[in-house]
Symmetry: C2
Subunit: 162 residues, 2 copies
């Protein structure tokens, strides 16, 4: 147990250096919208065009995704740190959509002015430990503005250097 706790602490410390664009994952299920800021997102395959996200089983978004609901991955612009905060902190449910302009595309909440929106069909899921990997088949991609994403590193939000 102690050894596991030690490695978990060192893992967290190491991961503070794994800089990542901040993504808000959204879904809609039975008329209810869900949003969650995440960095555990990765490109997976070009054929079929696929992305993956890792979601903690305790996250509110997990249950609708586990039923097979599709999802949208919204890469935030460097000016959208307030949206990241709203989608990761104390706010829940619909309150998380009070920051930013949200459209509905293909039945999914889609953030306007995001760096990119990836509309995904929920293709497959794999449980592993505390999390589930959801693989999305990318059905549509929108981009907006010049590349300037919000980045999470060392416990803070920032941007990339010019």
């Amino acid at each position: 147990m102690t050894e596991t706790a030690d490695i978990s602490a060192r893992l967290r410390d190491g991961l503070r250096r794994l800089a990542k664009a901040v993504v808000v994952v959204t879904t809609q299920h039975r008329s209810q919208r869900y949003a969650m800021a995440a960095t555990a997102v990765s490109e997976l395959s070009m054929d079929p065009p696929s992305l993956l996200i890792c979601v903690n089983r305790t996250a509110g978004l997990h249950a609708p995704l586990a039923t097979g609901a599709g999802f949208c991955l919204n890469i935030l612009h460097s000016s959208q740190a307030a949206i990241a905060a709203a989608c990761s902190g104390g706010l829940t449910g619909e309150q998380r959509f009070e920051h930013g302009a949200w459209a509905n595309r293909n039945g999914l909440p889609c953030l306007e002015g995001a760096q990119a929106n990836f509309l995904c069909r929920n293709e497959r899921s794999i449980d592993h430990g505390t999390h589930t990997i959801f693989i999305g088949l990318v059905e549509e991609v929108l981009t907006s503005g010049r590349p300037d994403p919000l980045v999470y590193v060392d416990g803070r939000y920032t941007g990339v250097q010019e």
Copy 2:
């Protein structure tokens, strides 16, 4: 076909905005060392402590990983762009280790001065499309220096803003 090609192009365009720390994945199998720069890396679970990488089946590193070889994920420092280039371009095999100082830890090539090194047991693999997801059980984590990772965004290497 055309539709798939279109979505693949839009996916690539959108992914240019998914800024990511640059990781060099290494492994060693039958005395041969392999290294590959990658951004398709994600934290997965804290219990058990797990990371994942997505590797194209055509990559040289895929075959040893498919046999179950362990791997090391090395997060590059912002000053290590030359190592990223060496591990993604025309160089192959041992030539990729000519840049940077490489130690051997637990039988795996481990980059000195990297932001972090995650030594992983090859726990599980999942094939999907052109790629395989390899899940690593994190057995050791080393960190070095203050957080200042190399980041890949919009087709170029850079760092994060202060």
